[in-house]
Amino acid sequence: MIRPVSENALLVTLADEIRQELPAQLRSLCEQLEAQKWPWLEDLIPSYTTLLIIYDPDQLDFRQAIAAIRPILAAEGSGSANKPESRTIELPVYYSPESGPDLEALAAACSLSVPDVIEMHTAQTYQVFAMGFAPGFGFLAEVDPAIAHPRKTTPRKSVPAGSVGIANRQTAVYPVSSPGGWQLIGRCPTRLFDRDSLSLLATGDQVRFRSISREDYLAQGGEL
């Protein structure tokens, strides 16, 4: 379904609920649209079930934009478009009370040991369902229900860069220090946002976490 939401934006809705196959579909749709090289296409914002398309209304009106986009959507829906390969990115994490101030409390709340929590967090392959909140911030799902835990009732004023958090069945790495309410379980030394290459992650990517030692974390440029 495609609907205009403002003078320069169209919202494409692929489904009413979050599904595992949607990030890959959104990514494929973005690639198809980018491949058209339309001079009026300005921004594509995929997120969970939707794609917001920003265009230049000085070049065409909303009816013309919808007419141009509809055939691409139809081809996507019929599965005739080539599906892009998804990338798998491995992120090292130093899990500890020192780097993840909520790790012990989360383990206790879930009636698990700290090693169990680490094991469950690293066992899953996650998908990037959306990018947002801050530059380079990817919303990853789904977290094992045994360690799913709601956000803190009072967000922290400042969460250090690299912090790995859990919020219900989502997990994420904070690319830069910012306020935040996720339950922090560790820290990742990999840069998720770079001034030159922008975001490491993109919607549709697969992500795995790997537990590393304090020494490895520091050797890879991590800060404590």
């Binding site: 921004d43 079930t49 917001l52 920003i54 009106d61 909303f62 909140f133 530059p135 380079g136 922008l198």
Partner: protein, 321 residues
């Protein structure tokens, strides 16, 4: 990077002063905000007065209280919020070219009506460009793209040229104290809001509160009673109106997050949003639902006016060609 041509040395940046152009396009999927000048009406005029490209970067000054010294002879223009402008203590004016001599002190007083001022330099401001824009989004903490500080330099993109004196007739200058009706284009979760809440939103005044910045303007008025919940985060269009659980709407502005999960009854049409950006805390606005095609036409006419209108001669005001 070249440092451009001599310009101004800042002694008082005011509450906040950031370099802004028309914003960063094409990178919102990385989580980067669009940024850019909030009031494109005053912004375009600042550039037009100096004969700059319409999208040339200007300094966006919040609430006035700004002082700078000219490092060279330079013609500038200041537009936007109503504030006293003086050169070496002598009264000058907004919405016109101002010729500064090397060593002159430019002073912009506190905004009396309106919130934002634009300061334009010849050819635009020379500052670091990052991913096709000079716009500064402070919360993104990108090195080199920070708000201006005391002692900072503003360099001009081209050397001084004699462009003559230009001004905007009084009748064409905006009055930011006037009543403001904002067109709300129905969209997003519009159909999930109750009829009573949509009526409430469009039959009462809402006031701009102190909690207003470049990310969003929090409004206060009769709270919506029955706000939809369980919305999946989705891309945010420029000017989306979101309603969190307390029922008080927030108008999302240029530096807002790229995705969000609060319900949205619609999006504020652009030309009205530029005017909203000039509202001070305590000032009110009124919403009315409007037609998308009309809003799109209004925006195209607005853009066309700035693209096509020309100065009749160097010593006169503008004309609509």
């Amino acid at each position: 990077m070249s440092f451009g041509h001599k310009g101004l040395l800042i002694s008082k940046p005011g509450a906040s002063a950031t370099v802004q152009d028309v914003g960063r396009t094409g990178f919102r999927h990385h989580g980067l905000a669009k940024g850019g000048a909030m009031d494109l009406h005053a912004f375009y005029w600042a550039n037009k007065l100096l004969g700059n490209a319409l999208d040339a970067a200007c300094l966006e000054i919040l609430l006035g209280g700004f002082e700078a010294r000219a490092e060279t002879d330079i013609t500038i223009a200041v537009t936007g919020a109503c504030a006293d402008v003086a050169v070496n203590g002598q009264a000058s004016d907004l919405w016109q070219t101002i010729e500064l001599k090397a060593g002159d002190t430019l002073n912009i007083g506190h905004a009396k009506s309106g919130r934002i001022l634009y300061l334009a330099l010849p050819g635009g401001i020379k500052s670091p460009e990052w991913f096709a824009s000079q716009s500064v989004v402070p919360r993104e903490k990108i090195k080199g793209l920070e708000p201006l500080k005391v002692g900072g330099h503003l360099a001009a993109a081209r050397p001084q040229q004699n462009i003559g004196r230009r001004w905007l007739p009084l009748a064409d200058r905006p009055d930011y104290s006037r009543d403001l009706r904002l067109t709300l284009i129905p969209g997003y979760q519009h159909h999930q809001f109750s009829k009573q809440d949509l009526l409430r939103l469009t039959t009462h005044d809402y006031q701009v509160t102190q909690q207003s910045d470049r990310m969003g303007y929090r409004l206060q008025g009769p709270a919506l009673q029955d706000v939809p919940s369980g919305i999946i985060s989705e891309g945010i269009a420029d000017g989306a109106l979101q309603v969190p659980g307390d029922g008080q709407p927030i108008a999302l502005m240029n530096d807002c997050q790229t995705i969000g999960g609060y319900p949205k009854p619609g999006v504020i049409a652009a030309v009205g949003r530029y005017r909203l950006s000039q509202r001070l805390p305590g000032q009110s606005i009124r919403f009315e639902f409007g037609d998308l095609a009309d809003a799109q036409n209004e925006l195209r006419l607005f853009n066309r006016f700035f693209a096509k209108s020309q100065w009749r001669s160097e010593k006169e005001c503008w004309t609509w060609e």
